[in-house]
Symmetry: C2
Subunit: 506 residues, 2 copies
């Protein structure tokens, strides 16, 4: 077989696998948004069946032969040196997926997918009834499956490293620890200084904001940010998420609370950031494995950049506040744009990660990282987890959960078996501010564009620098390519110190 | 291999195939309800891929070997005589599916599935813009694929018979012609007699009925009819339909027109009838090929029985009208229950099949049957179709379409390649009234139950007599088993003559 034929066949297999994973995403999207409750068991069976089919296709010996044909091996994944760069990037990504897939036995894939469906349903119920005990056996199982998978893939230090690498290629527990250590120290110091100052007023945020009007404003912001509703939609789910259901089908969800209007809105901006990334892959890679985020952390850099760096800036609210006040004239009658900007950035150690402010947010992530690595080293059991959670959140943030629903049960991730995922959220903050510093060099007028609700130049820059490439570059290479520097926490810390120094007159 | 093991393996394959067809149904449901418009091409690719996977599994040589193991052949599909009855029924159905699948080449299955997605999208646009020409090439293709499939399966007279058998096992063009001939004569006579009488007032039906309130009443009726919302939902789509997405997930759709309140409501009742059938399969067959309607006509007997025989009866409106008037006090201020009952049953030859009254409805079906058989015999071309439609509807019903959108483009079926399907709608009327005559013998108080909005005894009778069995019996056998008589148009015609004789004082 000629090399070109082998490559074409690999691309065809890759496309089929991508389409099957989109089919899975459709079933999951439906499960989280519209599916009737009694359908949950049947849906688990369907998802398990699909996982099995995907695993069978992804581990077909044909792929091994084809990869060999183009010179791609585990040691030299990019294949023959005479291939075009884009094909070599594709082979690197595809080879890694293949190696990862062939090491997992089919029955482990099928079983864990079935368990995941049941676990998610149990989590929804447990959270609703604040009943950690009913979720415990599911969590136990999900950790068990994750450990088994990490063992199949192999790892150097301990199983947790094997899981981190899925979400953040090349990352290890040790490497994270060396960034999170100083981050924790500097953030704690900043939180303490802020805590000694008078908090800005935020009473008006808890007034009654009807859900329909919140939705209207959220959709207007989505459109301003150039989220294309002809290839996506906004729905309601228990936990906001972004999902890609097809090459031109990237959907987001949010949830609204009548007396907490910021939660629904910032979830929309956050998920819009993810969606813009997925919508922005170059056409030539959109329908291939290269049409994917470079890592979870890079993905999070996009969502958090739009949510915080843009969405919580003074310039953003100078542009949007007049529109918001038109929708809520009574609720915001006694509020100035500066009041609103200060309230949106109020720092307040709290229980819920997704509602946390920019300064304490990364501390929530560090908490989860600490617990996860103990769960996986065996130093902590599932039964001890709620107590460990409650103890550590008091230590780090000085708050005490009133219930497991607002504590250990608050996130969807563990119910899905997504361990080693949380660190990416904080890494996203770091990547994001490195990108932002470079963007401000290239677009010095960025702030005034934001003030005019003209977000196009920023999106255009991100499209060219980040989105278009998909996962052609690994995170470390991408950061170096864009900024000329390696990963660092400094830009993020400096940004926070400057912004909050001003807001709180430190 | 032991016979029991072969049977167990056949059931496992059957379940996987059923689950995969449910996955397809999920993708189609999403496409009709919530999918963003730009996603249509990607969705076609996904559906085509799934069709290919299903076809590959459904035609695996393993199945042929397993069927042989249990003595099931094309000539003796029910297999070895010592197997339990339910297993022999299963083998009959499964063997027929297998024989049908192995005769289709995989590339025909994949291609036609892809074309179907594009065709449906083109139909939606063509109907919206009243532009038959843009739909024509798609219709041409869908007919081509249907002919190719019929040729693969083989047929005795002409390709149309091969398509009829899919929807109504054992039915032929000749057999339908011999029932539709007299039906057309008797109905035409009835329509003429009614036409000479004064029409009841129906002005109030065209008043403004807000969609939200229509939805509220429709949902209340669904619940009264015991549609279980924990295993289903109601959504909006261009064309109402029922679809089964899982063993406990049967969804329906409708659409609302503010000045035509009957359309949305009777679509709900109709689709609820389909859904109650699907929800009513016995647990032991629910997750197997036996958990399916006995035929499209039997399915239609359920929907049309609830819609017309129950939903358009005087007793039904005696029970429901007070609730309807509570929701629409202004619109119905000058309307009595008898006015409403008469208006709901107003006979008026019209353009749109789904809005047709009980008397003219079957004539719409006969029109489509006549056109379909000519399209498939080659006597009529796709280019000539609109003219043939317009001519024949004038001949049969005396009305002239104002546009193709309200004429040849009104139904979704042809865009999906569902030829030979329409006759089942009229057969459903015939089956339904045969069942109803027997039900009234078994439950003489049926009418007073309906008046009290106590539909449980009727549902219970249908569950026991029809729903529980799924497709264990072929339609002809089922009719004989339940009523003791073969298929006949007499009960339906008598029912109409009596009901409308009274309504129009004939």
């Amino acid at each position: 077989m000629k090399k070109q034929e082998a490559l074409a066949r690999l691309h065809a297999i890759d496309r089929d696998l991508k389409h099957l994973s989109q089919v899975t995403a459709i079933l999951q999207w439906d499960q989280e948004t519209y599916m009737p409750p009694a359908a949950v068991e049947g849906r688990s069976e369907q998802l398990a069946l699909l996982e099995g089919i995907i695993h069978e296709k992804a581990t077909s010996p044909e792929i091994g032969n084809l990869l060999e044909e183009v010179g791609s091996t585990t040691a030299n994944p990019r294949g023959d040196a005479d291939l075009p760069d884009i094909e070599r990037d594709f082979l690197r990504v595809f080879r890694k997926q293949y190696d990862r897939a062939v090491l997992l036995p089919a029955d482990l894939v099928t079983e864990s997918a079935r368990a995941e469906g049941l676990s998610q349903a149990a989590w929804v119920e447990a959270r609703k009834h604040n009943d950690y005990k009913t979720f415990m056996p599911h969590l136990e199982k999900m950790i068990g499956y994750a450990k088994k998978k990490a063992e199949c893939w192999g790892f150097t230090e301990h199983p947790y490293d094997g899981l981190l690498d899925i979400h953040e290629p090349g990352m290890t527990e040790g490497a994270i620890d060396s960034v999170f250590g100083p981050l924790r120290t500097r953030l704690s110091h900043l939180v303490q200084r802020i805590g000694s100052k008078k908090a800005p007023r935020s009473d008006f945020l808890a007034r009654e904001y009807p859900k329909e009007l919140q939705a209207q404003f959220g959709e207007s912001v989505m459109k301003d940010l150039a989220y294309d509703l002809s290839q996506g939609r906004l729905d309601i789910s228990a936990h906001p998420f972004t999902t890609t259901l097809g090459p031109r089908d990237v959907r987001i969800t949010t949830r609204y609370f009548p007396t907490n209007m910021l939660s629904g809105l910032f979830s929309i901006i956050h998920e819009t950031g993810h969606a813009l990334y997925e919508m922005g892959f170059a056409d030539e890679i959109r329908d291939s494995s290269l049409g994917d985020g470079a890592s979870m952390g890079i993905h999070e850099s996009q969502s958090r950049l739009w949510e915080n760096v843009v969405g919580r800036s003074r310039a953003f609210w100078k542009g949007q506040f007049p529109l918001l006040r038109q929708l809520f004239p009574t609720q915001l009658a006694d509020v100035s744009v500066d009041d609103f900007y200060a309230a949106v950035n109020r720092v307040q150690p709290s229980l819920i990660r997704v509602d946390a402010d920019e300064v304490t947010y990364s501390l929530h992530v560090i908490l989860r990282f600490e617990l996860e690595r103990r769960l996986f080293s065996g130093a902590l059991s599932v039964a001890e987890l709620p107590e460990a959670w409650n103890g550590m959140i008091q230590e780090i943030l000085g708050v005490k959960p009133d219930s497991d629903a607002n504590g250990v049960l608050q996130d969807v991730h563990w119910s899905m078996g997504a361990f080693g995922y949380f660190p990416s959220y904080a890494l996203g903050n770091l990547y994001g501010l490195q990108f932002w510093d470079k963007l401000k060099v290239d677009i010095p007028e960025a702030e005034s564009f934001i003030e005019q609700r003209n977000y196009g130049p920023i999106l255009q820059w991100l499209r060219t620098q980040v989105h278009n490439h998909g996962c052609r570059y690994e995170p470390a290479d991408l950061v170096l390519k864009i900024t000329g520097k390696p990963l660092s926490a400094e830009p993020f810390i400096k940004y926070l110190e400057q912004k909050y120094g001003q807001l709180y007159s430190l």
